[in-house]
Symmetry: C2
Subunit: 604 residues, 2 copies
């Protein structure tokens, strides 16, 4: 089993009986590399996750000493800078698994569930301890184990499966990792109540009793995660209640036990009619939640996706993240490469997150969450290099100002023993990988030109007449949707500075041009090229770069089995990129009838 | 339970112990309507399925007396003409169920499987006897119970599930219905052999022993049905053998027991590259099978779909059906409305079959088969009017020259007690229903502009860049594929008379124009309209007619529960037709930039 950025760490002990608390683990980890006399650990509980490094002493909270130990080991193993003191920016640093209890993983690209099979908890403790170690080593501390789309029998996690949940919480406790569970808003109905109305006293009592039962078994449960009133999920709208009323219902049940209620703000009309141009899906989250600012209890966290759509290769930052003044918010990103190559195509996410934090003051947030890219594959991530996204996300939750280059080069140094030139090559291609994927897929912020359902490979009009609100409206003359005040008005949800940035097509950043504007194919870009020529050029470049990427990766002496897996996937990526190039170019050529100025092959 | 065209027949007896043979059933059925003294039955076994009606005496083979009884009852109940004698055109008149043993039905639109659930035989004997009665009453005599895509545990039908298969055969025997099973070419591998090569002696022995085992349990099994080397199924190509070698392998195993081997000719490259315009999927069946003419054993039947694609609303007759001189062939049609409205939209098929037989000499065929539209819904067919397709198919297998109007009006008379005006209205709309569906869906023989996977609703480019060979190549200026000798050459697979009919765009029938030709939008049709205007007009007309259809059906006094189901579906059809109209019109308008000459609404 490849251990990725922990590859230089020895395996965890089979017998874990002596390791019950994070400090035990910290001592065990450090003593693999240092004589016991060379370090000391000192717990000051009020320090929590924070730590101080002073001489040979690590002082920290109960979990802080463990984070301090891993910071020291990252320094020793990978040359990471050694801080004198450190505390995480966010108290909750969360991984959301979309695992179903039948063993499948929604949008999972690394094999089946690490936790479940056949409706039951089925796992290898050693593998899950390794997951705990991966999380702790990069500062992650909350693991939501089941899909936000809660399918039976996952509802039993609050009931007949509680003993199993408790055992799993015990397993993760030495790693400072607390569990969270996704719950279904309609659970009271399953329990026999006639309603799940948040203002109904019986419903409130049922949730209070349920929370009490759960916390008896798992006293340090982080809380509940809910997706309500979205994509077919039940929610407070069923009862004519607001999402604040819905979220507070659960938050009040959790409050006596210190739990948080994480409420996903992924709500939109998913029965849209493409003919109705007055509805614009990116407006939905802001329209639904912004008016509720101030109505949420203090232990509610609204979890908001980075962009207003759904994890496309490029979206502007969600305006909702910029507009809630009196509400706890978590930023949600997606490590699972649902729309971004599915852990076949190389796609390094740290640059994307950097862009988000360029527009989003980190202190607006209370927490950060990522949809998991984990699975039962030997290497946990499907693509060995996809591990870098998990790694970098962890460091980002601790310090959102960290540079993408720093996290990726540290990950490389920890994972592989490569010569300096190979390290540089790998870093460069990993840093470029998002832009390459972007070039050969949907152009300039348009998004969604992807195969429906599978979300891999091109289908430029696959979502064009569908119910999901994801339209490009490409015609013979023009493409895109005007989202300024003159169009759908989405842009007016932003603060003035961002409105100014995107308002005019002549000054709007190229890579979001077609997100905000409808433009004719002969629109002249800032560099003098026409829009259509820019689309063609990007697609020829993107596919050419995917071919170069394959060659570059082949020249790097990765160890096996990583090398074989990386090269198999690089070949698939090259073919995928060629197909994207040709489909997108043909699509626009058939529509516009405009030739490539350089006469390259566009299939008829 | 609605009993459809048997609605005036009393329920079958609960206790079937006295009805072991078709003659017993014939006597029971007749005695519901006539005094025992008013008829007599006389079996002359060598008459087989044929019968004579003479005065009060029905003389026929063991099954013939039953068919004679039903002919008499159709006459008494519905006014069908009473023949003095009759024999079916085809000895095998087959229904192919695509039922999986998990209870699902591939392309099933009437509920789950009538036979299976949870990997086992699970059925209600009374419902299956009613199915047997439906089949016998229209002359159908073979029922293939499991999906041609054979999934585990269906392979057990030849093995551990044989006792269950035998019991089911017993159940259907009084109805003159013999079972058939779909088998997987690779079954010897499952049994532990190292190969499934048809020329390997061990493989031949294994199939011979398997057939012997099966026929010990089910002596009157009709035979095996195989889909090989297609859409991911294993087949003789795996071993470098021809399909004649593959089919003969199984046919020789069945021969000692009088079984037939039905071999589906649905073979094509389903990993096509849309960029390679030299490959044309409609050519595949002819290219694969025609050179093998004369190489198949006499108990092999090649089962060939009516058209060269896959059950689109309009296709020319498959050239393979016109070109095999020394091979037994079965025509395959699809009662399941996979691409034709899924038993939501009204779609009467008898006119389609009539067109096939206009080009296909009936005596070229040895058998006729239809993919089932049956399921566990109360009414067996989802849409009550979809039963007419099953009914009409039965009569067609007996007499392919029967007129569509005759079968449909007989079905109406048997099914509903309606006044003459309502009967006329219903007949007219049922006869028009295919043309209505055609008008609002893919235009003029183009096909495939349907939502991938689900195959309901429009997605004009959903299959355009896919692997299935189903392209329209619509551009700013033109649409369609040239399939003449100057293009892909598909047309050259036809006899000269059909080549002449389709060769020139100026004389090619309108409704197949875009199947055979690539044409500019300003091409002038025979009636003087441009191609684009014809497309717009058809789509406005089709949707308007679907709206009229809804009104017409609402005015007919159908009994409940049929009325409710029919009107619910008619409303869905109207909405579907409106969406098709708008999507197809918008698609072509965006491409061509050409306006509707009549200024009707085309969404931008």
């Amino acid at each position: 089993m490849n251990q990725n950025w922990l590859s230089k760490f020895p395996p965890l002990p089979e017998d874990f009986s002596g390791i019950g608390q994070p400090i035990d683990l910290a001592r065990w980890e450090l003593s693999r590399f240092l004589p016991e006399s060379a370090f000391s650990l000192k717990v000051e509980p009020e320090m929590g996750d924070a730590f101080l490094l002073s001489g040979s002493t690590i002082t920290g909270g109960e979990t802080g000493v463990l984070y301090g130990a891993y910071a020291l080991l990252r320094h020793l193993q990978g040359g990471a800078p050694l801080p004198a003191s450190s505390r995480p920016r966010y108290p909750l640093r969360m991984i959301n698994c979309w695992d179903n209890m039948d063993g499948s993983v929604e949008r999972g690209y690394a094999g089946r569930s690490l936790f479940f099979e056949g409706g039951q908890f089925v796992y290898h403790p050693a593998r899950l301890r390794h997951l705990g170690r991966m999380m702790a080593s990069v500062g992650l501390n909350v693991l939501c184990i089941n899909n936000v789309n809660v399918h039976e029998p996952a509802q039993g996690l609050l009931d007949e499966l509680l003993p199993d949940l408790s055992a799993l919480a015990d397993l993760f406790r030495p790693f400072g990792v607390r569990l969270m569970v996704s719950v279904d808003f309609s659970m009271p109905l399953r329990a026999g109540l006639a309603t799940a109305d948040p203002l109904d006293g019986r419903v409130q009592t049922w949730w209070a009793q349920t929370a009490a039962r759960v916390y008896r078994e798992v006293p340090d449960l982080a809380g509940f995660l809910v997706k309500a009133d979205s994509e077919g999920r039940p929610g407070p709208f069923t009862y004519g209640r607001s999402h604040a009323e819905g979220a507070n219902l659960l938050a009040r049940a959790l409050k006596p036990f210190g739990g948080v209620l994480v409420w996903r703000c992924f709500v939109y009309n998913c029965r849209q009619d493409w003919r109705d141009a007055s509805v614009d899906r990116p407006k939905a989250a802001f329209d639904t939640y912004q008016p509720l600012d101030g109505q949420f209890d203090e232990n509610v966290i609204l979890q908001i996706k980075n962009g207003p759509f759904d994890f496309q290769v490029r979206e502007p930052v969600s305006p909702l993240l910029l507009s809630m003044e009196k509400t706890n918010m978590a930023l949600e990103v997606q490590l699972a490469q649902e729309y971004t190559g599915q852990q076949i195509d190389l796609y390094t996410m740290a640059p994307l997150w950097k862009e988000i934090f360029a527009d989003l003051e980190p202190d607006r947030l209370s927490a950060v969450a990522a949809v998991s890219n984990l699975g039962r594959d030997d290497n946990f991530f499907g693509h060995p290099l996809a591990a870098a996204n998990f790694f970098a996300f962890g460091l980002l939750t601790w310090n959102p100002e960290i540079s993408p280059e720093e996290t990726v080069s540290l990950w490389i140094a920890l994972t592989y023993d490569l010569d300096a030139s190979s390290r540089q090559t790998l870093l460069r291609w990993m840093m470029n990988s998002r832009r390459i994927y972007e070039k050969y897929t949907a152009p300039l912020g348009l998004g969604w030109m992807i195969t429906p359902h599978s979300h891999y490979g091109p289908n430029p009009s696959g979502y064009e007449y569908d119910l999901w609100g994801t339209y490009h409206r490409a015609s013979h003359t023009a493409v895109g949707i005007d989202r300024t005040a003159a169009g759908t008005g989405y842009l007016t949800q932003y603060p003035p500075e961002l409105q100014a940035r995107y308002q005019n097509a002549s000054s709007c950043p190229d890579l979001l041009l077609l997100f905000f504007h409808r433009l004719p194919y002969d629109f002249v870009m800032k560099d003098g090229r026409t829009l259509i020529q820019r689309i063609y050029d990007d697609h020829f470049e993107g596919a050419a770069e995917a071919a170069e990427l394959e060659k570059a990766l082949a020249a790097i002496p990765f160890p096996e089995p990583d090398r074989t897996v990386i090269l198999e996937r690089a070949e698939k990526q090259r073919l995928n990129a060629e197909n994207w190039r040709d489909v997108i170019n043909t699509f626009f050529h058939r529509l516009s009838d405009l030739p490539d100025a350089r006469g390259r092959t566009i299939y008829p």
